[in-house]
Structure formats: C-alpha cells, structure tokens
Symmetry: C2
Amino acid sequence: MDKRPIGVFDSGLGGLTAVRELMRILPGEDIIYFGDTGRVPYGGRSRETIMKYAREDIAFLRSFDIKYVLAACGTVSTNGLGEIKAENNIPVRGVAGAAVRAAVRATRNNRIALIGTAASIRSGTYDRKILDLRPDCELYKKACPLFVPLVENGRIEKDDQVLRLVAEEYLAPLRDAGCDTMILGCTHYPIIADTIRDIMGEGVTLIDAGAAAAREMAEDLAETGSINTEGGEHRYFVSDSADGFRETAEMFLGSGLKGEVRRISISGE
Amino acid sequence: MDKRPIGVFDSGLGGLTAVRELMRILPGEDIIYFGDTGRVPYGGRSRETIMKYAREDIAFLRSFDIKYVLAACGTVSTNGLGEIKAENNIPVRGVAGAAVRAAVRATRNNRIALIGTAASIRSGTYDRKILDLRPDCELYKKACPLFVPLVENGRIEKDDQVLRLVAEEYLAPLRDAGCDTMILGCTHYPIIADTIRDIMGEGVTLIDAGAAAAREMAEDLAETGSINTEGGEHRYFVSDSADGFRETAEMFLGSGLKGEVRRISISGE
C-alpha cells in the first residue's frame, strides 16, 4: 500500500469528472485536485503556453508528496505530455491513451468520432494513437471551441437553445459520417453528455476520457500494490477565487463536495 | 510635445478597437500595445485576480518609458482601477468614465443600456458613475458572458445563427425597456456592432467605450501640450503565441497592421 495522495489537475473544473470516477473506484485514496481557474480555458492557446501552464500545475501538485499525476485535461494530454512525463520521476497519465483504448474496444464499425478543444484536435495526438493501435479504424474529428465557455457559463441543460444549436452544428457531420463511438476528448464534455447523446443517437457509445483514464490509473496502482484503502481525504485548490467553487464543483462531481477548498497563486510569484 | 509612447493594454485583442480610434485621431503618437492572450478572458474572473493581472500588464507597459496608460479593457476599468491609478505616477485611464459621459450626452429619454462582462456588470461601477453625473438617468444592464468567446472564435458575422440567438437573448430585455442609448462596455463588442444594432434598432445610439476613452485621452494630451505629431510607430506584444496575431488583429483594427509583433512572458518569471 502506498499512502501518498494522487494528484489531479485540469485547466478548470472539468477534471472533477475524472475525480468523480476516482472516488467511485478508489474510495480509500487521498486526492489533491488543482483547477487552474485563473487561466482557464487552455483549449485555444498555443502548445508552448499549454506546456508552460501544465509544468506549473504539476510543480504545484508535487509540492505535496504525491505518488501519481492525472492530467485530467484533454488539451494538456495532447500537447507535449510525453516530454512532461519524461521530466517527472513519478507516473504522469493523460486522458488520450485510455480514451483511445476504450474507443477501439467499443467500436463495431471502426468509425470513431472525436470531439475536443481546438488545441487537442490540432495536435494530431489521437490520430497517431489510433493509427498505432488499430490502423483499420477511421477517425472523424471536430474541434468544439464553444463547449467549454458554454459549460463554464452553466449552459448545460438539454433544453438550452444555444447549447443545442452549437452542438447540432458541431456534431451533425460526425453523426452523418455514421460513427458508432465518440470520444469526449475534453473533461468538460461529460456534463453535456445528455445533449450530445440526443444529437448523436442512442446507438452511439460515448467514451468519457477522464473516467477511462481514472480506471487505467486504478489498474496501474493495483499492479504495483499501491492502492490506498485507508485514506479518502480530498483537498481542492484553485488559482482564482474559491467563492462559488463548491456549487460549481458539485455539478461536476455529481455529489456533495467534502474537503478543504483553497486558493493558491500559480504564476511563479 | 511629449514624445514618449502611449501604452495600451487589454486582456486580449479587443483593446485594438481603442487603438484604431487612437490611430485615427492621434496619427503621430507612438503606441505600445499589450494583449494578455495567454490569460484571456478576464471577464469571468474575481476582482482580486483581475487587479493582479492588470498590475502585471501595466508593469510590463511601464518597462517602456510611456507617458500614459489606456486600460482598454472594460473588465479592468470596472474592477479596482481607482487603486491602480493611485499606484502610478503617470495617468491611467479606463473606459468606463468616458463611456458614461458619452452616454449621458447622447440619451434623450434618460434610459441607458449597458452590456459588459460578468465582472463589469457585477462591479456596479457604471451605476455609481451615472448616479454621480445624472441621477435622473435609469441604467438597464446585462452581463453578456458568451460574447467574448464568440468574438474570440471568429463568430462575428451578422448571419451567424449562434451569435444571433445569443444576442437576441441578451439584448431583447434592454430593447424592450425602451433604452435609446447603449454602452458597449467591453472593447470586444464593437466587432459585433452590426448584430447589436440589428436587434436594438436603428434609433439606439451605440457608445463604443474604447473609442470614447481614446478621444478623452486625446483631449488630456492636448490640454497639457503633450501630443506627439512626429512619431506614429506601433509595437504589439502578446503573452501567447504571436502566430496568427496579424490576421486577427486586422479584424479589430479595421486596417492592415504595421509594426512589430512579439510574444513576451507576463507571469512574474
């Protein structure tokens, strides 16, 4: 048993959808969460800026004695995470690999749809990972840059007309391409899964990238005998005001938030 | 004549709508522009974070020997700019005061509409400024948090269905209140003025806060004999990649961009 906590970070609060899965399958783990709410969103920024921010986020998490880092941010996972892994002497996992493995297991017609931020789609990371694993699969992809601002502004209800119009515009080409599996490549997207499912149709399997990564992390910890069954303490840190964090966080966690919430300064002061 | 340059900053590129007016009325001034594209948008962040970022932005501009700072950001102008002015020994001007003066001059029925970011509306700055100047005016205000992401994603055409739907939702209550004057309290908004005018009706005067502030700055410089008529050099700095800056900047400037564009690091490294 390794009692050190798990570190999880995201640009904002989307990564809490991965924490939700971690809490379900690893209830005895201590978790340190950092949401970079002072600099959210990452998805429209350059690779260089994304990597700079990710390094700062991990450095903060590692100011605690953690055993594992989950980059619960689709944008970071697809922009230079390989380099960042090599810089760290503890495991750092992104969400892309686990999402691709889950998608190729799920597809029956080998047509996989991918939605993510502009930076994630531009990176080509998913294309390479699918090609490595299953060159017979076709990837249909679409950047959805307005989904994060919509979710961050609470426009998440199925009957929200703006969300509906934007989602129809983004998703119709993927639906019309006949994809039977869709990777939600940004940890904000599970919050609007109902709307996505409505447009894509019931027959399409939605892959929650954050949850898939959380499950693979649990397998890693099990293999090395590192699962903690005696903790369960959760601490949350953000880089903008902590006011209102609890209410918004509970939307992502799907349950009440237990544990300390604190604001920290992230930008090298 | 004071040949030192004018410094202008914004969270992103919206402040270029103020630069556009400065270039028109003060063609001989040298201008240093900083757009904090690595941390845009500011409008959903806390007052404390907005002030921290504004102080860093001004410190960067003041690493040049400038004579005047234009905070061409509606969010900064309404969140703690008074304190920041007191910390600086050169003039620092926001956009709110000039916009209010232009609006009370323009209104005939004393009903003024204000649109801005969530932080601008929450601040109550406009309410206080209008009350000081014209207690008989009524202010009808509406936070428009999706306008900045829409503009930043290039959704600016009059026939863009998403922009139209969002604008109709935000603006209909202001139109129905019978306002005859509307303050565009965020420097991104002049880019979508055509859509706003379509919804509000031709009879409503739109006040471009950035342009109004640029004109008052020109008056200040004229009063003190500080107008430079011999320069005209413009330099642009951003905190994310400078790739693609030129194309986007030209949309805000309404003309070709002349001058150097460079990326700098803003967060206290």
